[in-house]
Amino acid sequence: MRGPRVYLLLAGAAFRAEFQYRGNLFINIIGGLFYQGVGLAFIWAVLDRFGQVGGWGLGEIAFLYGMRLTAHGLWVLPGHQLIHVDEVVIEGEYDRYLVRPVSPLVQLLTRRVRLSSLGDLAGGSALLVIASASAPVDWSPGAVCFLLLAVVGGALVEGSLQLAASALVFRMKRVSPIKFAIDMIFSDFGNYPLKIFGPVAGFALTFVFPLAFVAYLPATVLMDRGEELAVPEWLAWGAPGIGVVLMYAAYRFWERQSRYYESSGH
């Protein structure tokens, strides 16, 4: 089990490096909170006037939002550096990874940490805890376990798409626009009950772009609203498993694509 140990070692070093700038740390976390806050501010402001969207009230939407944001924070904290994959490959930093005795992916992920992701994680968890109290969920130990698994699964779903898109860099050289688009779809579309988008987009956002598995499906069954789903309930209960499967597939895809790496010649 050398891999995880090396990862933790390198990630720890990246954290210590970032914690050198305390003032900046605080400001970055606040910045991260604001980034996600504007979407919530929009929903809060309109639901204050309209009461519900697609039959979901503020409490239910806040629960969905909290799940999505926590999953996002959980993924971005270790995975943020993938955003720099373009420059790492174009500027030949990847060459260095290849001559070191640690998996290149691990080296890429630990080159720095982005502390604003702590803001996402803290904000998401706080919102989730507060919203859980008012959301219509019967909090049995089983339900709590499912919630935790679903959040981890949601992080894996989002991470798998970002990892797969990053893997295209070995052939395409510039993938950041694709990754921004993915990020935007998760953060903008993920906060609404999927059924408001209609059957076609609903299908696409479940089976083509697996957004539904991040928060909507697990949140719906937790709140016992299973009858409004367009898919069988067992699929919603299986959302955490989907995350694991997708992440495994994305990792294999990354491994295969990385064979096409061409050094830019430094």
Partner: protein, 279 residues
Amino acid sequence: MSALMADAAAKQPVVTLLRAHLACARMEFRAALTYRTAYLSSFAMMLLQIWLLTVVWKALYDGREEVDGLGLTTMTAYATLTTLQYHLVSPWRSSPIDQRVREGKVAVDLLRPVGFPGQMLAGQLGWASAAVPVLLVALPFALLIGAGQAPASTAAGFAYPVALIGALLVNQLLGLLLGMVSFWTLEVSGALMAYRFVAQFFSGALVPLWFMPGPIRAAAEWLPFQATAYTPAAVYLGQVEGVGIAAALGVQLAWIAALGTLASFVWSRARRRVLSQGG
């Protein structure tokens, strides 16, 4: 003859100055177009956003024709219009100053025979205008996906471009002011992030002022941000009419004057603090 020459000499600086500012604007315009994939994909995302907002507003209206006297079609047209406008007038990449200070390029800027704030403002406007060509291309698609409406009246049609220019100026002056903060502190990225989202929310680009909860609305009315998105859209859709249009444009003008004065004051302080990083 000599009178003519003196006249020409007096005129020369104005023309040169104008050309110099235009050159600054052109540089930034080109820079904005350099990253074409990012530039084009931002428009695909804009269309997605328009679709999302249209669907969300439909779901919010939930079959009702009107809420607070506002029809769903007016609301979706508002969302479409503000999303389009947002690409021209957005608090993102408001000023190149912080980057130029960090990289020491500000030294070169200061050596140029044109005032620094003027250069930056011209550059910002050049950057923003890079959105115009693709906005024109995206317009028909935006109307197809979202919803369009003709200006509410002839007066609205004439007042809208004026209000849009006002919005652009208020936004860029705010960006200039914020950029000048980097003469005092180098690390502004976190603060900038917070600013952008406060600015976006209170501009009314997402929720129009008329649907904001009472106290939030009062705050939005007293902040300059509403002049950057809500004002032109409300004028266009006839939500402010007659004397209201004049009043809305007056408020914009007042903000331009106030922010312009503040910017020149801050600059008079900032220029003594310029510390080159030696890039």
